[in-house]
Amino acid sequence: MRKPARAAVVDPRSLPVTARAWCLAASFACQLPLLLQLPGWLGLAVGALAAVVAAIAWKRRLPAPLRAAVALAAVGLVLAGSGFSLGRDTGCALLAAMLAIKPVELFSWRDARSLLGFALFAPFATFLLDQGPLSLLLGLAGALVALAALWRLAELDAAVPTNPLPPVHAVGRRLWLVGRLALVGLPLALAAFWLFPRMASPMWGVPERAIAKPGLSGEMGPGDWLDLMGDDSPALRARFFGPVPERMQLYWRGPVLTDYDGRRWSRAEWTQGLPPAEVRVGGPVWDYELELEPTDRRFGVTLDLPLAEPDGTRLGHDHSTTSWRPLSSLRRWRLQSAAPAAYETELRPMLRTMALRLPAGFNPRTIALARQWRAEAGHGVAADEAVVQRFNDWVRSDFAYTLATNLPGRHAVDEFLFDEQEGFCEHYAGAFVVFMRAAGIPARVVTGYVGGYYNRFGDYWLVRREDAHAWAEVWYEGRGWVRADPTAAVAPERIYDTIANLSDDGGAGLRGLADMWDVGDWMRRGWNDFVLGFDATRQRQLLQPLGIRDLEMHQLIVLFAALAGLALAWMLWLVARGERERDPVLRAWHALGARYARLGLAPAPHEPARDWSARVLAARPQDTTLATLSARFSDWRYAAHPANPAAARTLILDLHRYRPAETSR
């Protein structure tokens, strides 16, 4: 038997059941989007904790030491789960855990309100982690429920009992009332959103996510990319102004990997400090705007060879872009790129050595075969090309493409080339470069994305994470670096084909579905454009369509003040509209009274219409129209039988039209 500990000390202002229910519901609604962003097991654990705590706290009040123990356990759980590294993720997980255990002290009105206040922080924290449509929707819904709970608390807290509604209606009605309140505040919020002065650079750093999303990593090891290639979320969108590259030319260049240790490919960081290698442009220059989805890494992606670096990035010697800051929020770059006619025709000895280096003691069979081919081909550029051609022919005839591969042993390239003979881009690109280096041809791995999906609705290209690809570049004397894609030799359809091609022969039904999808992604892009990617730079260019190129800070502030004032006026008008007399006849009658007030003959509040008109008639004998009007008005207002609507309408018109002549005074 549990003794009723502290049951005697009941708060006189303890919460009614409805208030507790609303608070708990709001707390859950706010937590949900945040829990979805936490790593799966942690999200589940915190969610379960929240449910258990809510169930226990509903029944009885926990003693203080137990409450403290629960709090400590929750914090410990989160810290252990995040490996004791403090950062944005850990902070958000902590917030979720605190929110989950907060209901143990839900006793008073004050507790209830503070719970709701902290609950409102959960959607905010969610947006720091993720800005996807689902998070946005759930977050805003959570905030709405929290506001409705506040509304309910205010209702219950006031001394006035409310009229009981059926519970379902009550919930719906409160959400609607709060939604309406939010709509009233919306214009002001939007004005502030577009025009409130933004910081060009943050006051304090953006903490990195502890758990990275799959993105190009600057390294490539066995099996690394399977995650990436199974993720169909967008990686980037591009829109071309002017010439559009062929589908076969849509190679989106990311990190270039030169160093090989027998197992992993990685970037040669020291070459990043060198100036970009010289390029002779052949063919058209592509002018395009690139929109990179956030990755929390610093590696940028650009089309083939960018001619200049985008803002806030550095162009490496190998023409890969590196951002100064992690690309943790949506980035928009306007760029020019071109296909090279000649790319680094003079290769420095050091770079050449690097592009030929192979670790000792790996892949003996590959090296032997490469040397044999080299001996058979002879020397010179033509011989190099022959070796590359022969390799591609070999791949085309004997190899297969698959994502289901085994983890390799020590001699990964040997196993791939001579035993397995099936794999995906990672294997093909890696084996190709090892083979070429063994054959004495400088080569390197390039990672990035290939292809893309053309959204005809919004006229832009969408590249998904699953389009991630690794290819190779070989260096020929006199021509410089040339792209070579051995995967394309075995499975071109796998690389260039996208949903668009598939749906073309998929029939009308699929076409319609694809259209819907196009519109969906186009809207997502619009949201990116208008909301997610909006920053200080874009703010300054806000009035570009009106011919104002850059807004100065003071102009911005003036504009903001003006618009905020307008929005406030609108709010006032909207909420004060209820003050207006509803009956149009009465309104017209009062307006008439106001006109006479200017003549000093205002009707007194208690004065009947006919008495007033008689008084006016005594002062202004010619005002007979008023007498008829007031007679009609009293008939309409006080007659026993209801007046017909047409008569009321003409009365309103006549009342509005009549102006007392001022000259007669």
Partner: protein, 323 residues
């Protein structure tokens, strides 16, 4: 220490004196935007700090959804301030009234209000001093009943009434003062135990009062000060409690309640005794005269009006200037 606590309170009081209305006003008093005040509640301030934190964080990370959320919440909060204002706007306090009660008893003050515009008015509270009551306005009109404590006879100064609401979100309180110049009377508290009514007080009616053959009107419980002769012993023995005979009062046997007859008592006690006698005379359904110094005699008469006139006169007697 005490001074530091009192200083802000005094400041607040001075601030309050700047609020409208600054003098008692005739009713009805219509609340309009010039006399409605809106300030955030404690929770409103907490909410504001919360939004500020969110806003700075969102701006720092240039996190637009977070900023949008923060601004939406701020916009909603602002709209709720306006909403709170409008709950009061257009409301009119039509009248206040209260039945006079003896000092020491709570006075039930009824505040009648109506709203010109049919808009839902929720969570209205009327407060006077430390007591408050809910004001329901169901069909545009309603009333609140405040239980005001009373301590002193005379005019009750209720000061300003506060009509307020924290709806819809509890973030801000909108309030307005109403300072009715309607006088509210508090009767003197009647003496709890005292001698019976002075029968005839000097006039020669005493003998006739208890003359044999008068009709026994009814029996009542014995009270202190009753004469032993009036006790009805037989019925008392049957009922196990002392009963007293009350007689039908003959016409013209007016009770005279005279200020001068209580000279032995202190000033306020005299008033309280007279108040008690008025009540007793009224209860016994007898005509009575009240004589107060420097005033014409009231009565002889009886009934609610006369009682009120007498008690009012007693209530409004000046404060004692000496001992």
């Amino acid at each position: 220490m005490a001074a530091t606590v009192r200083a802000p309170a005094r400041m607040f009081q001075r601030l309050q004196q700047l609020a409208r209305p600054r003098a008692p006003e005739p009713l009805p008093a219509r609340l309009d935007r010039r006399r409605i005040y809106v300030l955030p509640t404690a929770f409103g301030l907490f909410f504001f700090v919360l939004l500020l934190t969110m806003g700075v964080g969102a701006l720092n990370y240039n996190n637009n959804p977070a900023l949008l959320l923060c601004l939406l919440l701020a916009g909603t909060a602002l709209a709720s301030l306006l909403h709170a204002h409008l709950q009061l706007s257009g409301l009119a306090v039509q009248a206040i009234d209260a039945e006079p009660v003896p000092a020491g008893h709570p006075l039930a003050l009824r505040v009648h209000a109506r709203a010109d515009v049919a808009r839902p008015r929720r969570g209205l509270e009327v407060r006077a001093g430390d007591t408050s009551a809910a004001l329901h306005l169901d069909d545009g009109a309603g009333e609140a009943v405040l239980e005001l404590p009373t301590a002193q006879r005379g005019w009750l100064d209720i000061g300003r009434l506060r009509i307020s609401t924290t709806r819809p979100l509890g973030l801000a309180r909108a309030w307005s003062w109403v300072w009715p110049d309607t006088p509210l009377l508090v009767y003197p508290a009647p003496e709890a135990h005292g001698p019976p009514l002075p029968e005839g007080a000097g006039d020669n009616v005493q003998a006739r009062l208890h003359a044999a053959g008068d009709d026994v009107h009814h029996l009542r419980n014995w009270r202190r000060g009753d004469s032993r002769r009036a006790i009805a012993w037989k019925p008392s023995a049957r009922r196990d409690q002392l009963l007293v005979r009350e007689y039908e009062q003959p016409q013209g046997a007016d009770v005279v309640i005279d200020w001068r007859g209580t000279a032995e008592l202190p000033y306020e006690a005299r008033i309280r005794r007279l108040a008690r006698w008025v009540d007793e005379a009224e209860r016994d359904q007898r005509r009575y005269v009240l004589r107060l110094p420097g005033q014409p005699a009231l009565g002889p008469a009886r009934g609610a009006l006369h009682r009120h006139a007498c008690l009012r006169a007693l209530a409004l007697l000046p404060e004692a200037t000496h001992g």
